[in-house]
Structure formats: structure tokens, C-alpha cells
């Protein structure tokens, strides 16, 4: 290809037009698709919360099932038999989040995690059922659950961390610790002694 000579003016105009066109396309697409995307995301959040109490909802019936089973409280959710704590934190590359369902004895009955951009196959493994299953039966009563390499499976506060996903695992530990602090503040937390509960009411 014979290389043409491009003037500076041409280069300036070319790059300006290119960037404006690209920005325009992306803006139009983003704005016009936003309602559909947000609907999907809301439904997904509800699906995740339902999953912690063992209800597999599809995106279509999530709204209905959510209304039946879940009550939203201040900063957490309640279901028949316990509390669902929202978890928020950061992994290696971006935000990670999840929900933890606790029964009246502060025992985990269900957990679910998700992430924005953890490495697939490593930190990204937190989004799998296999990882979430490890939390069932663990306790959040006198201390928070933490992730550990080669965790002792019988210890109710230890959960096996992810091989090759140490930074993400640390993020999960941090967000569990934060959720534990919030959990202690919840007035109807069964672990709070009766007298203090009365004081808060």
C-alpha cells in the first residue's frame, strides 16, 4: 500500500470525528438499553437473595417469589426463620458482593456470591455453587467467618479459601467481617442479650 501523506489538519479532524462517532454510538446504545439491563439486574439480585434460602427462581418469577418470601428491613432482609445479610466488598479487580442467610441460631443456611471482574477459574470461583456450599452450617455468632487455606472443615468459623484466588478470598473475609459488625447492630439479632434488646426498643 502506498502510504499517503496525511496533513495534521486531516489527522486532527479524523481523530475528532472517530471519537465523537464512537462515543455517540456507545451513548445511544447504552441509554436505549438501560431499562432492559436494569430490569435484568434487579431480577438477578432477587434471584440471588432467594437462592440463599433455597428457592431457585427464574428471572420471570423472581418478583413474585421475592414478594412472597422476603421482607426488606433496614440494611438487611428477613425471611421466615432468619435474617439475610447483604455483603459488599472488593476483590482483586473490582467489586464483589453476596448474601448470607442466617437462621435464629446465627448458623448459615445459605450463601451466594458474585463478582464484577475476578479472574475466571481463580477468584471468579466465588460465584460458583461449590464455593457457596462451603458456608452452610458455619456460624456468625461470636465471631465472623473467615477464609483460610486448608481450613479445618469442622471449625464453624473457617471456610476453605480458593487456590490461586488469595486476593479475592481476602476480599470475601473482609466483607464477612464487615457484615458481622452490621449483624451485631441488628436489634432482633438473637445473639444480643434480652436486656440490651429492650434498651434499643
Amino acid at each position: 500500500m502506498a502510504k499517503k501523506n496525511f496533513s495534521n489538519t486531516y489527522i486532527f479532524i479524523y481523530s475528532a470525528v472517530l471519537v465523537v462517532v464512537a462515543a455517540l454510538i456507545l451513548t445511544v446504545v447504552s441509554v436505549s438499553l438501560k431499562p432492559a439491563q436494569e430490569k435484568n439486574q434487579r431480577a438477578e439480585t432477587k434471584q440471588m437473595i432467594l437462592k440463599t434460602i433455597g428457592i431457585e427462581a427464574t428471572r420471570d418469577n423472581a418478583d413474585e417469589l421475592y414478594a412472597q418470601h422476603i421482607t426488606e428491613a433496614d440494611g438487611h432482609y428477613t425471611f421466615d426463620g432468619g435474617i439475610i445479610l447483604p455483603l459488599k466488598g472488593t476483590g482483586l479487580w473490582g467489586p464483589i458482593w453476596g448474601y448470607l442467610a442466617l437462621d435464629n441460631t446465627s448458623t448459615v443456611v445459605g450463601a451466594v456470591f458474585d463478582h464484577k471482574g475476578e479472574t475466571p477459574g481463580l477468584g471468579g470461583e466465588i460465584a460458583t455453587d461449590k464455593f457457596a456450599q462451603r458456608f452452610i452450617g458455619k456460624k456468625m455468632d461470636t465471631q465472623a467467618i473467615h477464609l483460610k487455606k486448608n481450613a479445618d472443615k469442622s471449625n464453624p468459623y473457617e471456610v476453605d479459601a480458593i487456590s490461586g484466588g488469595t486476593m479475592t478470598s481476602n476480599g470475601v473475609t473482609a466483607m464477612l467481617a464487615k457484615a458481622y459488625e452490621d449483624y451485631k447492630q441488628i436489634p432482633d439479632n438473637p445473639e444480643i442479650p434480652e436486656e440490651r434488646k429492650e434498651a434499643t426498643e
Binding site: S15, V19, G121
Partner: protein
């Protein structure tokens, strides 16, 4: 170059990973398991085809001095666009893909093929070149994903192969090193070694 060669050569003699040594970073990151490897392979193939086509159509208007920036804008617009559409209409697929978006945009194969091929070739051969290189990349990625998941986690596509074969009960253990990125590099090295020994003409003097 004949059109059939554009598809055929990247499989072996001009493989993007083995010979051009492009796209190695993503190849280390996503091959700990088979499923993400396959998703990444398909995504990169589609993106490299489309971006090759678009850049080839634009090639005569692009000033050489800013060509890399132009390529980058085209590739990232394309990838973000696809991601947005998937998020709205195929949410489950987008869940699988969204983590790959950053990896695809920065994939050296995409930029490499744009620079080496699409900038100077007509649209149709460029599209085929994209397809060929995408497939050549896929072969290596899927091979690595297969080996690493099988020996690292004892599963394939999440199915517990080793457990079903009853190997754990006779003392078999998963190789933890297989999960780590360095092992992918070692495996790629071994494949390159094997590949060069079969193709002496590729060996440097």
C-alpha cells in the same frame, strides 16, 4: 497468500500463540478451567474477525501516525457494544462474558492482526485471517483448559471425572500447580518445544 491458507496456516505454521507468541497473557489467565477457556476462545474469534473487517474497510483513510489509537477505539467500541447488547437481551451469556471484556480489548492477537494484516489487506481476506487466527488461538486455549482442569481440579467442564473414575480412593491427588498461571506458561513452553521439533523450518538459527 491463498484464502484457504489464511484459515489453515494459523493452526500450525503461523499459530498466534505458538509462532507469533501473541495473546499469551490471556492464555495464562483463563485456562485454569475448560469453560472459561472456551468462552474466551469464541469471544476472541468473533472480535478479531469483526475488528479485522472494520479496520480493513477503513484502512485507506487511517493516518499511519495515529493508527494504533484508531485500532484501539474501534476494538473497544466493538467489544463494549457487544457487551451492552448481551446485558440487555442475553443476560446469562453476558454474565459469562463480562469478565472477559477487558481481556479481549487488550488481547495482543487482536492488535497484532490489525497491524500485520487488516491495515494492508482487503476486507474479505482480513475477515478470513481473523477467523483463522481466532481458531488457532482457540485450539491452544482449549487444549490448556482441558489439561489444567483435568489434572488441577480433577474435573472437566465441572464434571468430576477423577472422582467418578475412583482415583481419589486409591490415593490420587490433584496437582495444585496446574491451577496456577505459571503452569500454563510451562505447558505452553512444552507445546512450543514439541511444535518446533516437528517444524524444523520454524527454528531460529
Amino acid at each position: 497468500m491463498k484464502n484457504t491458507d489464511l484459515i489453515k496456516l494459523p493452526f500450525s505454521k503461523n499459530n498466534p500463540i505458538l509462532v507469533q507468541v501473541l495473546g499469551v497473557c490471556s492464555c495464562l489467565a483463563v485456562t485454569a478451567q475448560l469453560k472459561p477457556a472456551v468462552v474466551m476462545a469464541i469471544s476472541v474469534t468473533v472480535v478479531v474477525m469483526l475488528s479485522n473487517l472494520i479496520i480493513s474497510l477503513m484502512r485507506n483513510t487511517i493516518p499511519p501516525r495515529i493508527r494504533i489509537i484508531v485500532q484501539l477505539v474501534v476494538v473497544s467500541t466493538l467489544v463494549v457494544l457487544v457487551d451492552q447488547v448481551l446485558k440487555a437481551y442475553m443476560y446469562d451469556v453476558s454474565k459469562q462474558l463480562s469478565v472477559f471484556v477487558g481481556l479481549i480489548i487488550t488481547n495482543c492477537i487482536v492488535m497484532g492482526r490489525l497491524e500485520a494484516f487488516a491495515m494492508v489487506q482487503k476486507p474479505w481476506p482480513s475477515l478470513l485471517d481473523g477467523l483463522g487466527n481466532g481458531l488457532g488461538y482457540s485450539v491452544i486455549l482449549i487444549t490448556l483448559g482441558f489439561v489444567r482442569e483435568l489434572f488441577g481440579s480433577g474435573t472437566l467442564w465441572g464434571y468430576p471425572v477423577m472422582e467418578k473414575l475412583g482415583l481419589y480412593s486409591i490415593g490420587y491427588e490433584n496437582n495444585g500447580l496446574m491451577i496456577m498461571p505459571p503452569m500454563a506458561l510451562i505447558l505452553v513452553g512444552l507445546i512450543i518445544w514439541w511444535h518446533r521439533s516437528r517444524n524444523k523450518d520454524l527454528c531460529e538459527q
